[in-house]
């Protein structure tokens, strides 16, 4: 459960880095690709050789702007790039080209929801800026401190990133997780990033501070701890919860909170100090002279805004309006490919709720087992709709339909083909079923008597017998109805 700090408000802001999915890097034509052999995706520009100059990738600008617009930001018509300067072997030029005081996007917001789809709060987004990623260091040895040295791979150097900075509107690790989840969902609708935290295409730093009740000063005056490089939603929550407790404990003991940067140890679940205030940065930001200011036409920004797909908040409302429960709607909303699947199946079939029910139960189970997503489900939406239609027509019972769906999933068959191959179509023809019902009544006089004497249970036995004679294919509703009908009639002499 969320950590508590009695007598304090917990103040959390997140900085999220997202790698943009472009064909090429931010400032050169090298391919933007994960997993290539070391230093095989480099050129003079991203190696930072003497004499080179950056040229900005228009697709990265478009994707960053779309992210901003989807998060309700204002996209600036004039923004500029700045150099953030520090020495590290993964930073070839000795500076990172980033945006300092005129970021591409500003002043957005994001609504967050709990796991059951209930609205929690709206978090303000301070800014989104575009910048280049650094290369990758591989340490020779177990840990940085006892490594004999490190190896530098610059394939990732220059890959486009957006940094999304929230206002400090979050107040627990759990909320931080919901925020990240909501953020990831919105971005997933735009298809601008792989958003894989484990591959580093989405990374999170958390700023955590405790504010005493009745604090009159500004938030900036509170000692703030930054936790760097959190690599999963779960770890974001764990690290923040640990940090809140650590700070609360220190304060309770009368100790001070140091302004510092901390790391998170996945194994112990603890944060640890990486750098104290005494080693604070002096990044010496200044405007990047190699890149003139970026000017965007208002019409271009408007066109990007207009071309945005329906976003999660709207989709969520649509699904609820179609009759889905909040919880089910939430599960679908999280996954844009599920929403697309749902929409297609819904359109083909006509009713929303059964589609959602089948997607979230049987189809989800099959997809999970096969490690697939809705985007590449072997059963296309139209075929799920066809299957559901057969249930409505009484061709299939619910149980049969499950069996048919499995077959469709495994073989990639259409509903019709699977039904035909399995020979599982339901018998709903009353004349045919009546014959079987009459036969069963004739064979089981004793049970019939029991039923007529008031033993309701006897009916189930008789239904079972009819099903047995029809190899399970008789429509159970019809069987039930006919049994009751025939048993309520007076006993007629057999053979009449």
């Amino acid at each position: 459960m969320a950590a508590k700090a009695v007598g304090y408000d917990v103040i959390i802001g997140l900085e999220v880095h997202v790698e943009l999915k472009t064909r090429t890097k931010l400032f050169c034509g090298c391919e933007n690709r994960f997993g290539a052999p070391p230093n095989s995706l480099t050129c003079p520009v991203c190696l930072g050789l003497p004499g080179v100059l950056p040229v900005l990738n228009q697709e990265a600008v478009a994707k960053a702007a779309r992210a901003g617009l989807a998060l309700g930001c204002t996209v600036r018509e004039i923004s500029k790039f700045d150099r953030k300067q520090y020495f590290y072997p993964d930073l070839p030029k000795g500076y990172q080209i980033s945006q300092y005081d005129q970021p591409l996007c500003e002043h957005g917001q994001l609504a967050i929801y709990d796991g059951r789809g209930n609205y929690v709060k709206t978090v303000r987004i301070r800014r989104i800026h575009l910048e280049e990623d650094a290369g990758k260091l591989n340490h020779l040895g177990q840990r940085l401190s006892d490594a004999a040295g490190s190896l530098v791979d610059l394939n990732r150097a220059g890959v486009p990133l957006i940094e999304i900075v929230s206002e400090p509107d979050l107040s627990s690790g759990e909320e931080a997780r919901w925020y990240l989840n909501a953020l990831r969902t919105v971005l997933s609708y735009l298809d601008i990033s792989d958003l894989r935290m484990e591959e580093g295409s989405m990374r999170c730093d958390a700023n955590v501070s405790l504010r005493p009740h009745g604090w009159a000063g500004s938030l900036g005056d509170l000692p703030r701890v930054e936790i760097k490089n959190l690599n999963s939603l779960r770890n974001v929550e764990r690290a923040i919860d640990y940090e809140v407790e650590r700070q609360a404990t220190r304060l309770a003991q009368g100790l001070k909170i140091e302004l510092e940067t901390r790391g998170f140890d996945d194994v112990s679940g603890r944060t640890y100090s990486q750098r104290s205030k005494e080693e604070a940065h002096d990044y010496r930001y200044f405007p990047e002279p190699d890149l003139p200011p970026l000017r965007l036409e208002a019409a271009q920004i408007a066109a990007w805004a207009k071309a945005l797909p329906p976003l999660p908040d709207r989709v969520r409302e649509e699904l609820k309006a179609a009759g889905l429960e909040a919880k089910d709607a939430e599960i679908l909303v999280q996954d844009p490919s599920a929403v697309a699947y749902f929409r297609a199946a819904w359109e083909a079939y006509g009713k929303a709720v059964p589609v959602a029910n089948w997607m979230l139960s049987d189809l989800a189970r099959l997809l999970n087992a096969a490690k697939r997503g809705y985007g590449d489900a072997p059963v296309p939406p139209a075929e799920l709709a066809a299957l559901l239609t057969q249930i409505d027509r009484g061709v299939l019972s619910g149980r049969m339909a499950k069996e048919v769906l499995e077959a469709m999933f495994e073989r990639g068959e259409s509903a019709e083909a699977a039904i035909r191959r399995l020979g599982v179509s339901q018998i709903s023809d009353e004349g045919r079923i009546r014959q079987e019902v009459e036969a069963v009544i004739g064979e089981h006089a004793k049970v019939v008597e029991d039923f007529r004497a008031g033993k309701e249970k006897a009916l189930a036995f008789l239904v079972g017998q009819v099903m047995k004679r029809t190899r399970g294919q008789a429509n159970p509703e019809v069987v039930n109805r006919l049994l009751r009908e025939l048993l309520s009639e007076p006993v007629r002499p057999s053979g009449s």
């Binding site: 003497p50 080179v52 002279p289």
Partner: protein, 487 residues
């Protein structure tokens, strides 16, 4: 015919028509390099083999191909802060000793595509930081007019090579006067184009918002011809500008009747050697006699230009020079940890002037000083720019001395950085304002050349070259040092 006597246009025409082979031209220049280098020291590296190879290629090409080459067979020297694939490039620094670039600068590609022959790489003050070429980590360069004096800098090697006849034309780079000041000291023509006129891709950056590559040549005509090849937008340089490139050379002799020449009070008088001032004023009078109007003007923020420049340029330099870290290329000192690697490599690789500027630049950008130094300087830069905008409402060009003095003796200023900085007083303003400026010889005093500088509005190179051609026409030039040696 002595091939050295031919101008670039004439030589290229002769090579195109097959009257002279590129190989002959190259051999003549290699011979002159060998004759002059012991006393001049203009080059850091000669590429005889590469030059001969390119000459062969030109000579073997068909007439159809050759006729498209404006610089066919023209031997060019390239300042060693401009990279050329496969040829060691050091920027005059030990930190780049042995570095062989795996790519070429856009201007080098354009030269080669125009049929030029690159003879070698010329000396410069380390990373172009200096006004005398004495801050080269390798060796000094001597003024061909007087070997006891500096050739100016930082493009001292390129200017000296042209004056010494060891290259027909040369490339320099100009951040605060580094083309024009050595051009003036060596009696040659030097042009700093409008910021963005020529691609900087492949120019080892000193101060990115001020740097420009430009031509050094014996004559205005050669400079015009070279600029035609160099100028134009480059997709690899986001600060290069997509403006049409006029046929500069073709326009050269179009007259400029009633040209209004602004003469700013701030560039004459105090701080200017009277000999230099007299020579420049006499040249202006000759222009007036030919019909030009001399208009007294004021550029009131000129006195602040040196301070502005020496805050902005080091700030950008401190950032541009962060990449020399001993990891991907260049010098690397042995070290047991990362910080030591950085600190000892950079301490061993950079010379004293470069260190001064890195530290100065780091300071003016650091927390607590940015507003007081860097930001304030960038605002004063706006004022300096506005001075020119206002002036160009009334005049076509502005004329000033290129340098406040004659070439000074080697060693006389290298221990006093501020004094050295002050000698850039006439040239830094056009870099700060992004404007084109040309230095053209306007007379000789005490046997030493004096340069006249013309500054014009953005993208007025055409006009500047024509005006400089007028100065050239009214200036009597003594025989070149290489012509005297021959005699």
């Amino acid at each position: 015919m002595n091939l050295l006597e031919l101008g670039a246009a004439a030589l290229a025409a002769a090579v195109r028509e097959g009257e002279v082979s590129a190989r002959q031209a190259v051999e003549a220049y290699i011979q002159q390099v060998q004759a002059s280098e012991p006393t001049v020291g203009a080059y850091l590296r000669l590429d005889e083999a590469g030059a001969r190879e390119q000459a062969e290629r030109i000579d073997q090409a068909s007439w159809e191909e050759r006729r498209r080459w404006p610089l066919a067979g023209v031997p060019v020297a390239v300042k060693d802060n401009i990279v050329m694939e496969g040829m060691e490039t050091t920027a005059g620094s030990k930190i780049l000793s042995g570095w062989v670039p795996p790519y070429s600068a856009t201007v080098v590609e354009r030269l080669v595509a125009a049929g030029a022959i690159i003879l070698g790489k010329t000396n410069l003050d380390e990373f172009a930081m200096g006004s005398s070429t004495e801050f080269s980590a390798y060796h000094p360069t001597y003024n061909p007019w007087d070997p006891g004096r500096v050739p100016g800098g930082s493009s001292g090697g390129s200017a000296a090579a042209v004056a010494a006849g060891s290259a027909l034309v040369a490339l320099g780079s100009d951040t605060g006067g580094s083309i024009r000041q050595p051009a003036a000291y060596c009696g040659v023509v030097g042009l700093k184009p409008t910021y963005g006129r020529v691609s900087r891709y492949g120019l080892i950056a000193f101060a990115s918002s001020l740097d420009q590559i430009g031509p050094l040549a014996r004559t205005v005509e050669d400079a015009a011809l070279l600029l035609e090849v160099l100028a134009g937008v480059d997709a690899k340089d986001a600060t290069s500008v997509d403006e049409p490139v006029p046929p500069y050379r073709q326009h050269l002799d179009q007259p400029l009747p009633g040209l209004r020449i602004g003469v700013p009070a701030e560039y004459f008088g105090e701080g200017i050697d009277p000999v230099v001032q007299r020579t420049v004023e006499a040249a202006l009078q000759r222009l007036a006699a030919g019909g030009a109007q001399l208009v007294p003007i004021s550029l009131p923020h000129t006195p602040y230009a040196i301070a502005t420049y020496y805050l902005i340029a080091p700030a950008e330099a401190s950032s541009n020079l962060a990449r020399y870290d001993g990891i991907r290329f260049g010098l690397r000192q042995p070290a047991s940890d990362l910080t030591q690697l950085y600190e000892s490599t950079r301490a061993a690789g950079f010379g004293v002037e470069v260190k001064r500027r890195i530290l100065l630049g780091t300071h003016v950008l650091s927390a607590g000083y940015y507003d007081a130094y860097y930001l304030r300087a960038e605002k004063v830069r706006t004022l300096i720019r506005q001075d020119f905008e206002q002036a160009f409402a009334h005049v076509d060009v502005v004329a000033t001395p290129t340098t406040p003095d004659l070439p000074f003796p080697l060693g006389s200023r290298s221990d006093d950085p501020l004094r050295m900085y002050l000698s850039d007083v006439c040239t830094v303003t056009s870099n700060l304002a992004g404007l084109p400026a040309i230095s053209v010889p306007c007379g000789w005093a005490e046997g030493l050349p004096v340069g006249l500088q013309l500054i014009g509005p953005a993208f007025s190179e055409d006009l500047l070259l024509r005006a400089a051609r007028m100065v050239e026409a009214v200036t009597e030039r003594p025989r070149w040092p290489w012509q005297r040696e021959e005699a």
